[in-house]
């Protein structure tokens, strides 16, 4: 669809806002020449390139994880199927779960965050661009070290790797070690990334953007980052103990050595439960961005949505043991953790009500992004309600570890996080790549997703209540599970086709001749739409000053309480009226109009800017080398032949040391 067609379709939208938003001339003073081509990508410290690399890598892992799921559904489609044996099936379970959690959903949200957070808060880049590159490469190499296990024996203990099954006495193969290194490397990656987000969001917002004016996606990324920072160390400690159990003769989780398998579960879920909110919160943020734009209305109850996210963040640390009701915690602990788990339903419900409130009375345009956002809400309600039943210990005794839980997790993670991610993809694709994803194909994608998803996962509720435990590779035909397993498999393959449609859509969008993309094709409200599509390396020529929650909708949303103090301080000669576009402007506004406040700030920050141009960090290869060194060290622990071990260890340490040295030297220059 061309821009012209798009505009024609949106006939009622004020053409002044569709028009290219005023932007000052892009100047690149004093920038060093940057390497181009693939070298330009792997040495990049640009948050946008890193974000795109994150998205590409995670999408590849998504496809791999999806193929694993389809293989499992093939086996489960019929009773006593003999396509694979238990060992292969368990490997697939572990690969699928781990891939989707650690290699897809967490990093894909980091990818969105990386690309969008600096743009949304009007910053040039993340606070620590080199560390940003490091977290990308740690994640990529974490994925690689995990998937090398395909060449020997993949892990077979599920994504939770419960001890003592994951101990060397029961699974002496390297698969679990690969899993451990995956958790170490991606955990380090997420920790560094999260610190980066926190520093960026706390500190690099523009003038005028208090916490109350931050886009809701930035809010959720901030909470995501806090949760990662505070939850990851628990699993880091746990997997380190597992590693020493497996290789250095300790027995932290070995009951015959005085250890305790429940310690693993407690530490794992102390991380694991905040993790599920880590997975879902930024998707909620995406939905909170998409809904207002396509409803033509601001979000309903901004502070309720923001604060309910914070509340979910706090509560998520108090409910971990609801994954362990069946281990026999005792009535008191069961009751306490059940209460917390019920409680967490309140802020979640509030968000849903507020989203519906946002759409209520709006003028809803069902672009694909909007469809996915609505799909998110509809599906997340189901996941949320099945979650309430799981929070009740007695009901949980029946439903935990059955297909009911499988249905629940997929309703919140696929129906929730991944639907939200798709919404974000269709929404920000024009900004990232300067092209639209095709709407027609997008709608096919959406409806196939909805049908396939519900057909695949809704019957799992019934399978679970009929007593089908999860993670079994075969079942007897007389259990009454045949029909719905068949349906579920059919649904899974429909879902597979829908992802192929998406891939087709991406290829189609990539191959279409490029056209000029307006800065703000959806007539959205947040700052990322104030720059070009795709944005220049330094994002904004001048750091914008923010006067409201919806900087690009100021003509429709006069700032409350009249003249904000900021305007008086930073731009005494501008007023709201001057900054809004005249309604009849049809063509692109020239440089002269230049959005008065942008120009003002340029002057304001003149002395800062003049000296070091835009102060963009130089490209560097050292983060990648450092991560590569850690990959080699992980290999050294993974491979048993001594010669390989020593070689990998020595090279790894050399790479590591060289990278640190080079990095420090580069900074201090």
């Amino acid at each position: 669809m061309s821009t012209a067609e798009y505009r024609a379709q949106e006939g009622t939208i004020d053409p002044g806002r569709i028009a290219e938003r005023a932007r000052p001339q892009i100047v690149e003073r004093g920038l060093r020449a940057r390497p181009g081509g693939w070298l330009g990508w792997i040495t990049s410290t640009d948050h946008k390139k890193i974000g795109v690399m994150y998205l590409i890598a995670t999408f590849m892992f998504f496809v791999v994880g999806g193929v694993e799921a389809l293989m499992m559904r093939l086996q489960l489609g019929a009773a006593q199927n003999t396509i694979m044996d238990g060992q292969t099936y368990n490997a697939l379970v572990s690969l699928h779960g781990t891939t989707m959690v650690f290699l897809f959903v967490v990093p894909v949200l980091a990818g969105f965050g990386n690309y969008l957070v600096p743009l949304m808060i009007g910053a040039r880049d993340m606070a620590f661009p080199r560390l940003n590159a490091l977290s990308l490469w740690l994640f990529v190499f974490g994925g690689i070290v995990f998937y090398t296990s395909l060449f020997f024996t993949p892990p077979e203990a599920g994504w939770t790797s419960y001890a003592p099954l994951s101990d060397d006495a029961f699974l002496p193969t390297g698969g679990i070690d690969a899993w451990i290194f995956l958790v170490h490397l991606t955990g380090l990656s997420s920790l560094i990334g999260a610190i980066n987000f926190v520093a960026t969001i706390h500190n690099m917002r523009p003038k005028g953007m208090g916490f109350g004016r931050m886009p809701l996606f930035v809010w959720t990324i901030l909470i995501y980052a806090y949760l990662l920072i505070l939850a990851l160390p628990a699993i880091a400690a746990a997997v380190t103990m597992l590693l020493t159990d497996r290789h250095f003769g300790t027995g932290f989780f070995d009951p015959t050595a005085g250890g305790d398998p429940l310690l693993w579960q407690h530490l794992f879920w102390f991380f694991g439960h905040p993790e599920v909110y880590i997975l879902i919160l930024p998707a909620m943020g995406i939905v909170s961005e998409v809904l207002p734009v396509f409803s033509r209305k601001p979000i309903f109850g901004y502070s309720f949505i923001a604060y309910s996210g914070v509340a979910i963040g706090f509560l998520s640390f108090t409910v971990w043991a609801h994954h362990m009701f069946a281990t026999g915690l005792g009535d008191f602990a069961n009751g306490a953790f059940a209460t917390g788990s019920f409680l967490i339903g309140v802020p979640t419900g509030v968000k849903i009500f507020n989203w519906i409130g946002t759409m209520w009375g709006g003028s809803l345009r069902f672009k694909t992004a909007m469809l996915f956002a609505v799909g998110f809400i509809a599906m997340f309600i189901i996941g949320g309600i099945s979650g309430v039943s799981l929070a009740s210990p007695p009901v949980d005794f029946q439903q935990t570890d059955t297909y009911y839980v499988v249905a629940h997790i997929h309703y919140v993670l696929f129906g929730g996080a991944i639907m939200g991610m798709f919404a974000g993809m269709y929404y920000w694709w024009p900004k990232m790549f300067g092209r639209f994803l095709d709407e027609g194909l997008g709608k096919v994608h959406f409806w196939l997703t909805m049908v396939g998803f519900n057909l695949a996962f809704f019957p799992m509720h019934w399978l679970g209540t009929e007593g089908m435990p999860r993670r079994i590779y075969t079942y007897f035909p007389d259990m009454g599970w045949n029909f719905w397993n068949m349906m579920s498999s059919v649904g899974a393959y429909i879902l597979g086709i829908s992802v192929m449609v998406l891939v087709g859509n991406m290829i189609y969008a990539y191959r279409r001749p490029r056209e000029e993309m307006p800065d703000n094709p959806w007539d959205a409200a947040t700052l990322e739409w104030a720059t070009t599509s795709p944005p220049p390396a330094h994002n904004f020529d001048a750091v914008p000053v923010v006067y409201s929650r919806y900087p690009l909708w100021e003509d429709r949303h006069p700032v409350e309480g009249g003249q904000p103090a900021v305007i008086a301080a930073a731009a005494p000669h501008t007023s709201i009226d001057e900054r809004s576009h005249p309604a009849d402007t049809q063509v692109a506004v020239g440089e002269g109009e230049s959005n008065a406040h942008l120009a003002t700030v340029e002057a304001d920050h003149g002395e800062h800017e003049a000296g070091h141009a835009f102060h963009l960090p130089a490209p560097t290869i050292f983060p990648m080398i450092l991560a590569f060194g850690l990959l080699l060290i992980a290999f050294a622990l993974l491979f048993s032949p001594p010669i390989l071990k020593v070689t990998f260890l020595i090279t790894g340490v050399i790479y590591f040391v060289v990278a640190i040295y080079g990095w420090v030297k580069q900074i201090s220059e």
């Binding site: 099954l165 398998p261 069961n334 019920f342 009740s392 029946q398 570890d401 019934w462 007593g467 590779y473």
Partner: protein
């Protein structure tokens, strides 16, 4: 690209389809909750009470689910974009309404919490008769004098191992069974559940919920069957490559038949143990002490 008018109609049809789908989804769980409505569950209290609790939860959740999804779909249809319509009112929120639904959601969940907490002890803790579990006396051991007040009870130790369950019965003489646990009807059966290798989860859906068998720990669960029959359940915690084949069964029979079974089983075990001892002696005699030590337990 289709004209906007057609798009609208298509949207409407799609939304109605979505609505029908959601309605179907909502109606379904009630009809399919087999385990949680154990009509052939032999009246085991933990399962029955769980079922009641589940139905309370379900009937509270269902109207909320229908209401929320209904309002969602209604607003999608009602407030869809119409050509020439004015820009919508820029409503930013409504504090009273928002506080209202926050409090409302909290109130519903508090009620649910209270109900759950009220049900919890009755499901988790054995009834009278199983109360003095430590000193519980097996009904089978008829020579034992004092049956605890509140009815007969039996304590069985359930031990998981890859990939089978073993049941150790109390009382004089060794009595144990693999795979199928035989219990008398109308008796409170208390279970001490543990594992000797990896973690398993003992679960007979029609009788009681899961109790994880964690090595190094003793978990407990209980049930009481009123009708004779065989009840089956899978191990519910991934325990290795043959996890799917780790199946446990409970067979309930009248106390008289149970006693007969127990006596027969005991004598079978005695016979087998004697035969094993004989074989061991023969082998030791033949091969000498050094290799015989391989058979040392």
């Amino acid at each position: 690209m289709a004209s906007p008018c057609q798009i609208d109609r298509r949207h409407l049809a799609a939304l109605l389809a979505l609505g029908a789908l959601l309605g179907l989804l909502a109606a379904a769980p009630a009809a399919f909750a087999d385990i949680l409505t154990p009509e052939d569950g032999g009246g085991s209290p933990p399962a029955e009470r769980t079922d009641v609790l589940y139905e309370i939860t379900l009937w509270m959740a269902l109207p909320i689910f229908l209401l929320v999804e209904g309002v969602l779909i209604y607003s999608l249809v009602k407030h869809r974009f119409r050509r020439g319509a004015p820009e919508p009112a820029q409503v930013r929120g409504n504090t009273r309404l928002e506080i209202g639904w926050t409090v409302g959601a909290a109130a519903i969940l508090v009620v649910l919490t209270v109900i759950t907490l009220a049900f919890l002890p009755g499901i988790r803790d054995p009834e009278a008769g199983g109360a003095q579990r430590a000193g519980a006396v097996a009904v089978a051991a008829t020579d034992q004098p004092d049956v605890p007040p509140g009815g007969p009870s039996l304590n069985v130790r359930v031990v998981g191992q890859q990939y089978i369950w073993r049941y150790d019965y109390p009382g004089p003489g060794r009595l144990f069974a693999y795979h199928r646990m035989v219990v008398p009807t109308d008796t409170t059966i208390t279970l001490d559940i543990t594992s000797q290798d990896v973690q398993h989860s003992f679960w007979i859906p029609e009788l009681f919920g899961k109790a994880d068998a964690v090595p190094g720990h003793i978990n407990d669960m209980w049930f009481k069957v009123t009708e004779e029959g065989v009840y089956r359940g899978n191990c519910a915690e991934l325990c290795g490559e043959n996890h799917a084949q780790m199946i446990g069964e409970v067979e309930a029979m009248s106390p008289d038949r149970y006693r007969a079974w127990a006596d027969r089983q005991r004598s079978d075990i005695r016979t087998a143990a004697r035969a094993l001892a004989d074989q061991r002696r023969r082998m030791q005699a033949q091969q000498g002490a050094g290799e015989g030590s391989l058979l040392r337990q």
